[in-house]
């Protein structure tokens, strides 16, 4: 039991290195960060900046060479505690085909809870609940390979949710989806977040990053910037120097401002920019 206000995940002075010919590549360098209960944290950073290594720390897929990672007070370095952590931290990756194991949707969602050795009734309840929350009940008896990308990803998330995790980690889970699939998955994640699930999202889509309470920018394995979306995206030059960018609407406003037309805020969505432009024009 942790007292309220204690972070759910604490990464403390962590360094991770991988061997390469003639030396080692430092994937993470002295990274410290806290993830709080109920928050939506987004991690951005260029390819190779250490994002996925960071995500793999959270459930002990990577054990740091230096520093510690604790989840709800449990250490990922401890074999026994790690088993509990794996149930608390649900990971969803980029390619749903690599995460779906069963030939029927319902069985796939049940796979995790079955492996926990739970009573039959409990498994049924969890599966029903997870499918309800991801709105995939109508796909219950379908074969996963017949589903769209967005549907498959929702099945994968339901499977993770049936483990009743404290935190859902989405590691570029929208990267391969079409626009409606991406919208489906984001809507589902937002709904879970409203219900109190802690979300850690890794993405290369800057407009998705605007959904976060807080954004962390990794560069060369270090935390380079950390801010809420509006503060962060008000610094386009810093982001571009880190090989990142701002959402398109933010850039449009920035380019208008450079011509002397100031819409009066750093817009993050189409609606914000449209409203600001209209009230400025009046």
């Amino acid at each position: 039991m942790t007292a309220a206000g204690e972070p759910l995940i604490r990464v403390d002075a962590v360094s991770v290195a991988y061997p390469v010919p003639g030396g080692r590549i430092r994937a993470l360098v002295d990274v410290s960060l806290d993830i709080h209960r109920g928050e939506w944290l987004t991690v951005i950073g260029h390819n190779g900046s250490g994002k996925s290594t960071l995500a793999k720390l959270f459930n002990g897929l990577v054990i740091p060479g230096r520093g510690t990672v604790t989840v709800d007070g449990l250490s990922t370095a401890d074999d026994e505690q790690r088993k509990r952590i794996r149930q608390m931290v649900g990971m969803v990756f980029q390619d749903p085909d690599n995460q779906i194991v069963a030939t029927v949707v319902e069985e796939d969602v049940a796979f995790g809870p079955e492996n926990l050795g739970l009573p039959r009734a409990e498994i049924k309840q969890r599966v029903a609940d997870a499918m309800h929350r991801l709105e995939i009940e109508d796909l219950r008896l379908r074969a996963p390979h017949q589903l769209s990308g967005g549907q498959k990803m929702r099945v994968a998330i339901a499977g993770v949710l049936a483990m009743q995790p404290a935190v859902l980690v989405l590691d570029e889970s929208t990267a391969m989806l079409d626009p409606s699939g991406r919208a489906e998955v984001l809507q589902a994640a937002l709904a879970l977040h409203r219900d109190g699930v802690t979300v850690v999202a890794i993405t290369h889509f800057m407009n998705e990053a605007t959904l976060a309470d807080r954004i962390i920018v990794l560069a060369e394995g270090r935390v380079a910037l950390e801010a809420d979306p509006r503060t962060l995206f008000a610094q386009p030059d810093k982001l571009r120097a880190l090989e990142l960018d701002v959402p398109q609407v933010t850039e449009i406003a920035e380019r208008l401002r450079a011509r002397g037309m100031d819409v009066g805020l750093v817009p993050l969505t189409v609606t914000e920019l449209a409203d600001a432009f209209v009230s400025m024009a009046r």
Partner: protein
């Protein structure tokens, strides 16, 4: 008059044909590409985009309908597709699965070596391709392929096909998983290859903004059929239709629609950020309506 180098008419393709798991992937798709053209292919997941483009170098053969590439009729079982593979370079989805050599430099050099090029030329091409995707040659040539991040692996796979310098470059979701800078750089590289070398381009993407920025013509697939085809402006005018098809419009187009809804008078089609900035600037500097 320009001749089409790829011409697909009423193409049908089934997976696991003749088994209980048979499913139809293409049912009447059409496509054409003229020399030096840049064409986008869009469609929801499972619409048949990847199946279609795998016909372009004979990886798949038509089950019904016709596919002609550089004059070769791929419906003819005796036609040898191998010469086409030098002319039509294909970058798959999840291209990191195409990697097999232990080091980055060797992986990218594999194709050019197979073409029988001399050492200096292979090196030139590998360096050029790595620069194109933003992998510094000295820092990356000896790196273990499998120690790379997901995005870096994709860059290596794209570089491997660029190094073949094909006449037609077919890229299936090449920017998925790349960081914003790498996306922008890759689009610049593709535009440069087109402008300077006349490379024709087939760009399969879910990213409406990139399609709007790069290509001149777009085909839209749905359920294995070609359902929309036209200039990029014509296609993105069909916003409702595209949404019904699981797609969307570029952010700039969405913004223009939101502004028009609010009574702002914007001129012309708005597809790119440049278009949006120009249209908004002009609308507000013109006398108030």
């Amino acid at each position: 008059m320009t001749e089409n180098i790829i011409e697909v008419t009423d193409l049908w393709h089934w997976y696991l044909r003749g088994t209980p798991l048979e499913s139809v992937a293409l049912q009447g798709a059409s496509f054409r590409l003229a020399a030096g053209e840049m064409v986008g292919v869009m469609g929801h997941t499972g619409s048949g985009k990847s199946t279609l483009v795998q016909h372009f170098n004979g990886l798949l053969r038509p089950h019904r309908g016709s596919v002609r590439v550089f004059g070769t009729d791929l419906g003819d079982r005796r036609a040898d597709p191998r010469p086409l593979r030098r002319r039509v370079g294909l970058v798959f989805q999840f291209p990191e699965q195409q990697l097999f050599d232990p080091t980055v430099g060797d992986d990218i050099a594999f194709g050019p070596r197979k073409l029988g090029l001399d050492h200096a030329e292979v090196r030139r091409r590998v360096q050029g391709a790595m620069a194109a995707v933003g992998l510094p040659f000295d820092a990356f040539k000896d790196r273990y392929t499998f120690g790379l991040s997901g995005g870096e692996m994709r860059k290596v796979a794209v570089a491997g096909v660029l190094a073949l310098e094909p006449e037609v470059l077919v890229l299936d979701e090449p920017t998925a998983g790349l960081d914003p800078r790498a996306r922008r750089d890759l689009l610049t590289v593709l535009r440069t290859l087109h402008d300077e070398r006349g490379t024709a381009l087939v760009f399969v993407s879910h990213n409406m903004d990139e399609v709007a920025e790069l290509v001149t013509r777009v085909d839209v697939l749905a359920d294995g059929k070609t359902v929309l085809s036209g200039s990029v402006r014509e296609v993105f005018r069909e916003a409702d239709r595209l949404r019904d098809l699981g797609l969307g419009v570029p952010a700039a187009t969405e913004l223009a629609a939101a502004l028009r809804e609010r009574g702002v008078d914007l001129r012309g089609d708005v597809l790119t950020m440049d278009d949006a900035v120009e249209a908004m600037w002009t609308s507000s500097s013109s006398p108030a309506a």
